[in-house]
Amino acid sequence: MLANYAIVGIFLVAAISFPLIPLVLAFFLRPKRPTPLKTSTYECGLEAIGDVHVQFKVQYYLYALAFVIFDIEVIFLYPWAVAFQVVGLYGLIAATIFLLMLFAGLLYEWRKGALEWV
């Protein structure tokens, strides 16, 4: 039992040291001659302007919330689809109830105006 954990531990140490050792070695061995161009972020596109911590509309949050709910809905529907032949009518009824509950939530959201962009 504990031996299994030892393997996990060795694996963890190996996994961390594998990329770490070359990086550390390179840090000590490489010549250090920085220029502004070299130290700039290695990315294509434009220079970033301003701060990343900007305020944005709270409505994105509502969309994210609705999205997560329906994301999870799909995840739950997959196993049902795979096992559709086996679970039969029982599964159909259970899935319908599940969908109806989410539909009630959607109706509520719609009626409350959470789906409109203001």
């Binding site: 039992m1 086996v86 679970v87 009630a104 109706l107 409350k112």
Partner: protein
């Protein structure tokens, strides 16, 4: 693919729960689509109707014992009686909210379905026989309460309370889940009965015992937080003070009843063999809770905060019954105490609401000065609730305390019963202080309190219940006795 065998599901065993959840979901839609703003009281009436129907649906289940969903949900008289008590708590809380919400200008239709969802969480806690189901129950109860606590938006105190409760509650939920993981690691099951059987059948060995104890400790921490046992009680006064008064009333009795009902099952179905480990810990927590709650209440000049501290103290008395639930007396005392405490405490909060005016809070002790001369009946009702909470004889509170203390004494915890007696003597001081203010001082020109139909019904029902159960406890106690039989196995 082989044919899948679907475990038999007996929906009848969760009928009250089903009614509450379906009704609440439907009500949410009916409210948004058909009930115009300004007439949201109708939603409240419909919510009350739903809770009543759920109670009636439970009637034919009396005496039935069984489990379903593969043993994850259990119905027995213990769970059913608690279900009724929880439904009663829900009904009384909604009744006192009907006029409070428009008066505070925070009326929204969602309030009532949310209370129903919270009640469904409590019922699930009473019926759960699996750690995952208990977690589900606790979260259903908590998440709705986070929203309800912040319902007085944009009042800052309400927001602050909701934030505090959310952050600390999420922390406690984390403890719960981690505890479940450890327990599962040690025993290979989340089913309470299987955990119990596993722990009883074999020698666990050091590793597994450590895992199991660690997991149990974490789960107990989560429950202590929800039930407000010291030293996990810090959030109570602030959250109660900030949240809308009916919500505070609901929380004080609801979370306590739900969380401790689940704790009874957890301790005596999953962990009875570890009795030697958890009993001293819980006994210590209980003693501390009674002392901290009752001493803390003395310093409060704000009656709402005083009731918050008193609710901590009462959690300790309820725990007396929980700890000895292995014997017949324990669960009896537990159910009885929850019922009586619910009546007295909801009544006291209802009186507080009657004194609360638009925009101003009249919760200071001085606001009660001379209440007897302004509103004699209200003062008398408040006196009844205070006497009951203090445990003075003709009221139900005395009977409840008497049974809880006897249960602890006979269950092998006499020192704890002594702590209970001493602390309730301390408690008498601050409860009686309110009564003295009401009857023996002159009024200070405050406007007369506003009483309306919902509040009056609430106060009358609570006061009548408190007195009647205090004078003739036999019928209720016969019911409680029969509910408790199934437990402790």
């Amino acid at each position: 693919m082989d044919a899948l065998t679907i475990p038999p599901v007996d929906l009848g065993l969760i009928a009250p729960l089903l009614v509450v959840v379906t009704w609440a979901t439907g009500l949410l839609l009916v409210d948004t689509f058909f009930i115009p703003v300004g007439r949201k009281k109708l939603t409240g009436y419909l919510a009350i109707a739903g809770l009543v129907v759920a109670g009636l649906v439970g009637l034919p289940l009396w005496g039935v014992s069984g489990s379903t969903f593969g043993g994850m949900v259990r119905l027995d008289p213990f769970a059913l009686t608690l279900t009724w008590v929880f439904l009663l708590i829900g009904i009384l809380s909604i009744t006192m909210s009907l006029d409070y919400l428009p008066r505070q200008d925070i009326e929204q239709g969602e309030y009532y379905p949310l209370i129903m969802f919270a009640v469904s969480g409590m019922i699930l806690l009473a019926q759960g026989a699996d750690l995952i189901v208990l977690f589900l129950g606790i979260e259903t109860l908590s998440i709705t309460l986070y929203i309800l606590t912040g319902f007085a938006y944009p009042r800052l105190t309400s927001e602050e309370a909701a934030m505090k409760y959310l952050v600390l509650g999420a922390f406690a939920a984390g403890f719960f889940v981690y505890g479940i993981a450890l327990i599962f690691g040690a025993t290979g099951s989340t089913r309470l009965s299987e955990i119990g059987a596993y722990a009883a059948d074999r020698d666990l060995g050091d590793t597994n015992l450590t895992l199991l104890l660690g997991g149990a400790a974490m789960v107990l921490i989560a429950f202590s937080f929800k039930a407000a046992l010291a030293p996990f009680h810090m959030w109570i006064p602030d959250v109660y003070q900030g949240s809308p008064t009916p919500v505070a009333a609901f929380m004080s009795v609801g979370t306590k009843g739900g969380a401790l009902a689940a704790l009874v099952r957890l301790l005596f179905e999953a962990l009875p063999t570890l009795n030697a480990y958890w009993l001293p810990v819980l006994a210590g927590l209980t003693a501390l809770t009674m002392v901290v709650g009752n001493l803390g209440a003395i310093a409060q000049m704000d009656v709402k905060r005083m009731l918050a501290y008193s609710s901590i103290g009462h959690a300790g008395y309820v725990m007396l019954g929980v700890m000895v639930a292995g014997e017949q007396r324990g669960p009896e005392a537990f159910i009885f105490y929850i019922l009586v405490y619910a009546l007295s405490n909801l009544g006291a909060f209802a009186v507080l609401i009657a004194l609360e005016h638009q925009g101003e809070e009249a919760w200071q002790l001085d606001d009660f000065a001379g209440l007897y001369q302004r509103q004699p009946l209200l003062a008398v009702a408040m006196a009844i609730f205070m006497f009951s909470l203090a445990g003075v004889p003709p009221t139900a509170g005395f009977m409840a305390k008497f049974y809880a203390l006897t249960a602890a004494w006979e269950g092998g915890l006499p020192w704890l019963a002594l702590v209970g007696v001493l602390t309730s003597a301390i408690a008498a001081f601050f409860y009686l202080r309110v009564i003295i203010r009401m009857f023996m001082t002159e009024p200070e020109g405050e406007p007369a309190p506003e009483l309306n139909r919902g509040l009056t019904i609430d106060i009358v029902v609570a006061a009548a219940g408190t007195i009647i159960i205090g004078l003739i406890p036999a019928p209720i106690f016969a019911l409680v006795e029969r509910s408790a039989v199934a437990l402790g196995g």
